[in-house]
Subunit: 127 residues, 2 copies
DNA sequence: CCGTATCCAAGCGGATACTG
DNA sequence: CAGTATCCGCTTGGATACGG
């Protein structure tokens, strides 16, 4: 997956394989429905946990925390806790997160642009 | 999900909801690891079933057929069967598929660009 | 070679309850 | 309000076998 991108760089074989497996790992983390929807929502503005759960419709409490931890772990979102009572926790995109968001935007745009194509393709396929 | 994109169009409420749920469905289909990796590989060139299974490393026979059917169903890949013996089946991206591929490319580029950021973010998080 | 079907284990993901 | 933990159904996905 990574090979062509680093072709001609000064990395040796072992480093290439390390980078490759890391890239696969990150891609697998990020290329899933919930993660991408969360990133899309956070692109608009900073959101609290409960706001996210409302905005990303259909997501469960558990999936939301799980994906937020993962995104935080990879440094795509930043988590800030306000020590009030009741607690207030806000999530916002980091710079890498915002960069990824641009590609998610493109994917959403694609979805809407080809809605018609896809619907007719489905009918053709089913018939 | 769709609302903002169609704002101001002449669609009525019911159509908006239909388009919205369709968009969600498509997004869920497409926003998964295997589908995106397959599309990425097919971007390079037309590939046979067995070639795909080799190129997309780690994918099982079952997942490959399942995702290929789904992509065909949505009109993103075209399947051509050569009635030879043994059979030869080739998969190629359609125009919508190629358009999507551009965004997948962007995601891959993002992955490699931020590899370093992410690795250090992980260490910070784990420590 | 390509595709479908079946079986079965593993892990996802929802519901719920409980802590700070 | 936000997060963690537990339980458990059930889907996912791998292995295998067989058909075109």
């Amino acid at each position: 997956m990574v090979t062509k991108q680093f072709k001609g760089s000064s990395l040796d074989e072992a480093d290439l394989r390390r980078a490759d497996s890391l890239a696969r790992e990150i891609f697998s983390d990020v290329a899933n429905k919930w993660a991408l929807l969360i990133i899309e929502m956070l692109g608009e503005r900073t959101l609290r946990f409960s706001e996210l759960r409302d905005e990303v419709e259909g997501i469960s409490h558990k999936m939301l925390t799980q994906n937020l931890r993962m995104l935080e772990h990879n440094g795509l979102v930043e988590r800030t806790v306000y020590p009030t009572v009741p607690p207030r926790v806000e999530y916002t995109l980091t710079e890498p997160g915002r960069a990824l968001r641009a590609t998610v935007d493109a994917m959403c745009a694609w979805t809407h642009q080809y809605l018609g194509h896809i619907e007719t393709a489905r009918h053709r396929f089913d018939g």
